[in-house]
């Protein structure tokens, strides 16, 4: 895809990792404004704080404070995860594919935390 509509084809798209594991959505895009050159996409923003910003800047500030105060250390980063555009492998009508492994990224912090601390303790799930 050479020409695309950033709103239609990139923003809010499903993000998948190398193995096509769903790891979140393009919650925001960061543009770099360059003098004399067209703006380029610097990075993809993912996470709750980014979504909060889209609703209202005050909600973002509030969530950010809450996160700093109560965040469990292992899931602290997940509220905001920024991936440089250079990590994007493919943009297709179905998803935006990144050249990373979801499990190693902060986007999967919650998933990992729930798996290790909740799901693993449910009787009947062999760990």
């Amino acid at each position: 895809m050479k020409t695309m509509d950033l709103v239609r084809d990139v923003l809010d798209k499903q993000v998948v990792d190398r193995d096509e594991t769903k790891m979140g959505r393009v919650d925001g895009l960061l543009l770099e404004i360059r003098p004399g050159q067209p703006p380029r996409i610097e990075a993809i923003d993912m996470g709750f704080v980014v979504l909060a910003r889209r609703i209202h800047p005050r909600l973002e500030a509030w969530l950010e404070r809450l996160r700093r105060r109560f965040g469990v250390s292992s899931i602290r980063k997940t509220a905001r995860y920024r991936v440089p555009w250079s990590a994007v492998k493919d943009v297709n009508p179905f998803c935006v594919q990144l050249d990373v492994a979801a499990l190693d990224t902060p986007a999967f912090d919650w998933e990992r935390w729930l798996r290790d601390h909740v799901v693993a303790h449910v009787p009947g799930v062999d760990s």
Binding site: L6, L29, E32, P39, E42, R53
Partner: protein, 97 residues
Amino acid sequence: MKKTLVHFELLLGREVHDSAGKRVGRILSVTAEREGGDCVIREYLLGPAALLRRLGITTLRLVGFKHREPLRVPWDQLDLSDPKKPCLRCRADELPK
């Protein structure tokens, strides 16, 4: 040099004024191209027609809705130095058709 960064998602829906201060329309769609490893912005599309185009709605034409072309603003004509108040570097009627 420090980079000037703008949150793209916050640009959407912002009202654009031209150099004479006249209201031109809201940013509702943005086209971009991939250049090597980069992805760069080409045009900003303004007005309700841009929204309909983005949503792929063509049926409204059947019920008599006039199908207008969205207003196209090339990347170099939009001043984003204050992302909350984007404005044109020219007058609305000077935009290339």
